[in-house]
């Protein structure tokens, strides 16, 4: 009976103590010393990234306004190291691309009407595959590298924004979606130059954005920008 009492007391005190205890630092050296298999220069590496880019070409017949922040992506990139200078991988990302249409008399995409402003926005899921060549000696870091590869996008949503000012001065903004003139799937080539966590990238679309029967002006196939590895 006495032993049970002591145990109950200790257990009770223990529970109380656990509440009272404030563990400031707790470290396990066992897990710390296991040889890692993943990391920037280990066999596997998965990291998130964001990218910001611009349509650097004006499009057919100068259809687009000056480049701005036209392309945004957020996704994850996987790298499989084959050898010190060679790796392959893929990335999966949400992508948002905007084309700002220049409002001139020759405009025909997606209509011939002129507005104060008009832009086409594509939301897509992008899957890319690449081969990576690294240069220079490095430790567990991404180092200096060049990626070459291809990508395909599934354009799951598209919106057309227009802004007009009427003669009475009122402004009308219209958002239209569920339009059917764009290709749901596009594809292209991608190239990147990386300096550790900062990457300059170029995506070049090989396929048209619009279905042929619409006879629309083709928009800039080249996006150039900067990516940041988030890790």
């Amino acid at each position: 009976m006495k032993r049970v009492f002591i145990v109950l007391m200790l257990c009770g005190v223990s529970m109380f103590s656990l509440n009272a205890q404030r563990v400031i630092i707790e470290e396990s050296n066992v897990s710390d010393t296991l040889a890692p298999k993943s990391g920037p220069n280990y066999k596997h590496y998965l990291h998130p990234f964001i990218s910001l880019g611009s349509n650097v070409l004006p499009g057919e017949n100068g259809a687009l306004t000056k480049p701005g922040l036209d392309d945004f992506s957020f996704g994850f990139r996987y790298k499989l190291r084959i050898a010190e200078p060679l790796a392959v991988g893929f990335d999966l990302a949400y992508n948002n691309t905007v084309f700002r249409m220049k409002q001139t008399g020759s405009k025909n995409t997606p209509d011939t009407l002129l507005y104060d402003a008009q832009r086409m926005e594509f939301h897509s899921a992008r899957l890319g595959a690449y081969i990576r060549i690294n240069y220079g000696r490095r430790g567990n870091s991404l180092g200096k590298y060049v990626d070459l590869g291809a990508y395909s996008e599934y354009n799951f949503a598209h919106t057309l924004f227009t802004k007009s000012t009427l003669t009475d001065g009122s402004v009308i903004r219209i958002n239209r979606s569920k339009l059917d003139y764009y290709q749901p799937i596009t594809y292209g080539l991608q190239a990147r130059i990386g300096f550790n966590k900062i990457i300059l990238y170029g995506n070049y679309r090989l396929s048209p954005i619009f279905f042929a029967p619409y006879n629309f002006t083709e928009l800039s196939p080249l996006i150039v920008g900067i990516q940041f590895v988030l890790n």
């Binding site: 103590s17 630092i25 470290e27 890692p36």
Partner: protein, 537 residues
């Protein structure tokens, strides 16, 4: 589609140029045999060299060797063979620097030139000399609380050292850093310049004597060794002599070159340094954690040779504790380098950023701790700064005073004594080493090892429950969270430290656990205010 093709056709040249230009130029640049890179060229031997130690070394360097009963010189001190040097010089673009210790030249050369000199019979090895990250945290905290200034030295016992006249007199400390902007005219160093105690300066980046540009990090670091701020000593070795070396490129360009560190260490040795303080570390840009083994990196090899010369090398553990790397960087991985972690200003537990040990081969690091947030001199004025960069010079100042106390100690004897005067000694873990340096412990005036807690246990069936109960007098001294800390570590059956924790004690029942949580044949060590208790399972 036709329009698309037409547009492709129209922009073909532009597009292909843009896309391929990036790749092709980059590739060509990297592979072009005319592209120059920096390399270490290591030689096999030193066959035809003459050396006079009395001509080469400063008298302080001779004195250090004699006190420690070291040979006046050895193979490492001999210069690189001039015939080898001449032969290499004819076949490379430029010789950047040379290292006696590593018997090597750092050269700028093309791949083709390197291929040629690789065949020379006297060339042992060639390695690309890349760049590495400088591990200096410079997070500034707005604070005008000068309690910090007092505490950074008082917690280590500056009053005791000063009362014994231990203030670095006669010791020579070399500081390797990014630059010492503003130091020459700063009030913090007036007492040093007035007595002409800056013996030499050299900028190894720009190959000139002026070290007062390039960055102010060194100014802050120096003030933590021997500065004076607000009429208080901000470092303990305020009467020491100093050698100031700029070895790093800068805070804003966080890349540096290991060769500068090694050549600066040779310079410090030649000019009689007793202690080297360096607040830098090389990690993921060049190395893997598995290479933090005390023998792989160039800078670690250099630091170990410096220690062989009788110099105490004090290095910041690093600021990667909360980062992906997490571990100490080179050269803090060297077994002969006293690696310094940082504790928070209020209490004796590590700051989040202070890097963890152990080394890749399982040796204890960091060795000891000092305050990781310090009140420092800035190019104009003063302020609070964070980083093991500042813990390291605080410890270097302490070490100078400790060595002054017993000049007959060899550098590694001093190293062991410094570990033994840590606030946790003989307890240790890989976050705190042996704890914060303590003058009381070093001088031997603090022998209070009375029991501070008792361990109660009760057994039920096959399980034993343990409870750590702190003495009333300990608990009565509670002032604020963090003021009473219980350190707990678990050693496995092979005697290796598996896990550890620090508990903030605010209740009489400080900690409890049961035997089911512990692997058989393990040992739990419990430490509280000088009292160590082991429980074997």
């Amino acid at each position: 589609m036709l329009r698309f093709e037409a547009m492709i056709s129209k922009h073909k040249f532009t597009v292909i140029s843009l896309l391929l230009l990036l790749f092709v130029t980059y590739s060509l640049e990297a592979q072009n045999s005319n592209e120059t890179h920096k390399y270490w060229v290591l030689f096999k031997d030193k066959p035809n060299v003459n050396f006079d130690p009395f001509e080469h070394f400063d008298s302080k360097a001779i004195e250090r060797r004699m006190i420690q009963e070291l040979p006046l010189y050895d193979w490492y001190d001999l210069p690189v063979d001039s015939e080898y040097k001449n032969e290499i010089e004819k076949n490379v673009q430029e010789i950047k620097t040379e290292s006696r210790w590593l018997n090597a030249l750092v050269v700028i050369a093309t791949q083709k030139e390197i291929s040629k000199i690789k065949e020379f019979h006297f060339v042992k090895e060639i390695n690309e000399a890349g760049t590495s990250e400088l591990l200096i945290a410079e997070e500034e905290e707005p604070s005008d609380d000068l309690v910090m200034l007092s505490r950074q030295t008082e917690r280590m016992g500056i009053d005791l050292f000063d009362s014994l006249g231990l203030n670095g007199t006669g010791m020579r400390v070399a500081i390797f850093d990014v630059g010492f902007n503003g130091a020459k005219t700063h009030e913090a160093f007036k007492h040093i310049y007035e007595k002409n105690r800056v013996k030499l300066t050299y900028d190894f980046v720009k190959k000139r004597e002026d070290v007062y540009s390039g960055g102010s990090h060194g100014t802050a670091v120096w003030s933590c060794i021997g500065g004076r701020l607000q009429n208080r000593w901000s470092g303990m070795a305020h009467e020491a002599e100093f050698l100031l070396a700029r070895t790093e490129i800068g805070m804003r360009e966080p890349f540096s070159e290991e060769e500068n560190w090694i050549v600066a260490a040779e310079w410090a040795d030649k000019n009689g340094a007793d202690i080297i303080n360096s607040s830098l570390g090389y990690t993921h840009n060049r190395y893997f954690p598995t290479e933090m083994d005390g023998k792989t990196s160039f800078v670690t090899k250099g630091a170990n040779i410096a220690a062989k010369k009788g110099i105490l090398v004090v290095n910041a553990a690093g600021n990667e504790g909360s980062g992906n790397w997490k571990l100490i960087g080179a050269p803090a991985d060297a077994d002969s380098v006293l690696s310094i972690g940082g504790v928070v200003p209020c209490c004796d537990y590590k700051t989040g950023f202070s890097s963890f040990g152990p080394t890749a081969d399982g040796r204890l690091k960091p060795n000891v701790m000092a305050q990781g947030t310090a009140w420092c001199a800035k190019p104009v004025g003063e302020g609070s700064m964070d980083g093991t960069s500042f813990a390291s010079p605080l410890a270097a100042g302490f070490a100078a005073c400790a060595w002054q106390h017993d000049r007959k100690l060899g550098n590694m004897e001093l190293f062991r004594k410094l570990e033994a005067c840590g606030s946790l000694y003989p307890y240790f873990d890989y976050g705190h080493g042996y704890g914060v340096l303590s003058a009381q412990n070093f001088i031997g005036t603090d022998e209070n090892t009375e029991a501070k807690f008792e361990v109660l246990d009760a057994k039920v069936d096959n399980e034993t429950f343990y409870k750590i109960v702190v003495n009333d007098d300990i608990l009565n001294a509670f002032t604020s969270p963090g003021s009473i800390l219980l350190y707990v570590s678990v050693f496995n059956q092979n005697g290796k430290l598996d896990s550890y924790k620090v508990i903030d004690v605010s209740e009489k029942e400080a900690y409890s656990f049961s035997s089911s949580e512990i692997e058989p044949n393990s040992v739990i060590k419990l430490f509280l205010q000088g009292y160590l208790k082991e429980i074997k399972f």
